[in-house]
C-alpha cells in the first residue's frame, strides 16, 4: 500500500520500522498521507475513521506521525469494532 502511494523506487533503500515517521523518514508529503488514509479507509471500512484521526491530531502533528502510531490507531479501532 505504501508502495502504491509513494512508489517502489523510493522505498527500496529505506529501512522501515514502527518508529519511521511518514514525513521525516519516508519523505511523504501530507497529501500523500491523506491518499494513504483513503486506501486504508477502503480496506478497513467504517470501523477506522482516518479523517477523524488526522483531524484530532492537527495539521502540524500529522507531519510527525509514525508508522507505529498509525498502526496502533488502526489496531485499536478494529479491536473496538470487534467488541462492538
Amino acid at each position: 500500500m505504501l508502495v502504491a502511494v509513494i512508489g517502489a523506487d523510493q522505498l527500496l533503500d529505506l529501512e522501515i520500522t514502527p518508529d519511521s515517521a511518514f514525513h521525516g523518514d519516508l519523505g511523504l508529503e501530507s497529501i500523500e498521507l491523506v491518499a494513504l488514509g483513503g486506501r486504508l479507509q477502503e480496506r478497513y471500512g467504517r470501523s477506522v475513521d482516518f479523517v477523524g484521526y488526522v483531524s484530532s491530531l492537527g495539521i502540524e502533528a500529522i507531519m510527525e506521525l509514525t508508522l507505529g502510531q498509525l498502526a496502533a490507531y488502526i489496531t485499536d479501532c478494529l479491536a473496538a469494532d470487534a467488541r462492538g
Binding site: I31, E32, V34, A35, V51, G52, S55, S56, I59, E60
Partner: protein
Amino acid sequence: MADVHARGVRFHVQRVPAAGDTAATDTAAPTAVHVHGLAVDNLTGMYCTLAAPLAAAGIASVLYDQRGHGLSERPPAGYALADSVADLDALLDALDLPGPVHLVGNSYGGAVALAHALARPERVARLVLIEGHLPVPGWGARMAASLTGLDEDRRVGALLREVAGFAPGLDTTLRQRAGALTASTTLIADLAATAPVSDEQLQELVCPVLAVYGGRSDILAYGQHLAATLPHCELNVLPGSGHFLLASDGPQVSGLIADWLGVGSAVRSSAR
C-alpha cells in the same frame, strides 16, 4: 475512489461520508464540495480541518486537488479561473453529484466556488467562502505578480511562519511546491488574463453565502465588498487572524460552517 478523470485531466479525489452513513445509502443532505487555494495549497488543509467536523454534523464531503496541485495531474496549460470553474463543473458530473451541493472555497478556491455559483446557480445550494479571493478589476495582475518568484521569496516563508504558524521547514516545502507549479505551467499568464466579476453579476447571486475572513487579512476588503454587494451574505470576521484561517483557527471555522449549514446542533467532537 482516488482518481477521477474530467476534461482530460486526472484528478485526485477524496470522499468523506457523513457519520453513520454507509456507501449504499446516501443521505438527502447536500454534499459539501471543497475547493482549495492556489499554488501552496492542496486538499490536505480542508481535509484535516473541515471534513471530519462536517461528517459528524451529517454532511458528506468531496475534496479534490485542483489541476497542477497535490496528487492531481499537472498539465502545462488550463489555469485560468474559467478553467478552474469548468474543472469543478466537470468533476460534479464525473462524481455523479448533479447538485445542488454546498460549495466551500478557501482563498483562491473561494473565487472558483463563487464564479461557479454565478455560472451554474442551479447546482449550488449554499456557498461558503473562507478568506475567498474576489476577481475585482486588477486582481489577476496582482495575483500573477504575487506568484512570480515565489520559490525564491524568503519573505513569503517568513509570512507563512509568523502569520500562519507553520513550522520552520514547511514553508520551504510550500515555496518549492509553488515554484514547481509556476515554472512548468501557464498559471501566471492565465491568472493575469482573468476577466473581473462585476457588481451587477454579484447582485444576481441567489444562493445564501457565508463569508469568513481574518481581521488582519490582506484581503478582508473582499469579504466586506461581498457582504455589501451580494443579496444574501453573512460576513464573519475573526479579529486577530490573518489569511491562513484553516491553519490558525480550524476548529472555529469548521464550527461556524457546520452551524451555518443548519446542522450545528448535531456537531459532536470527532476526536476519539
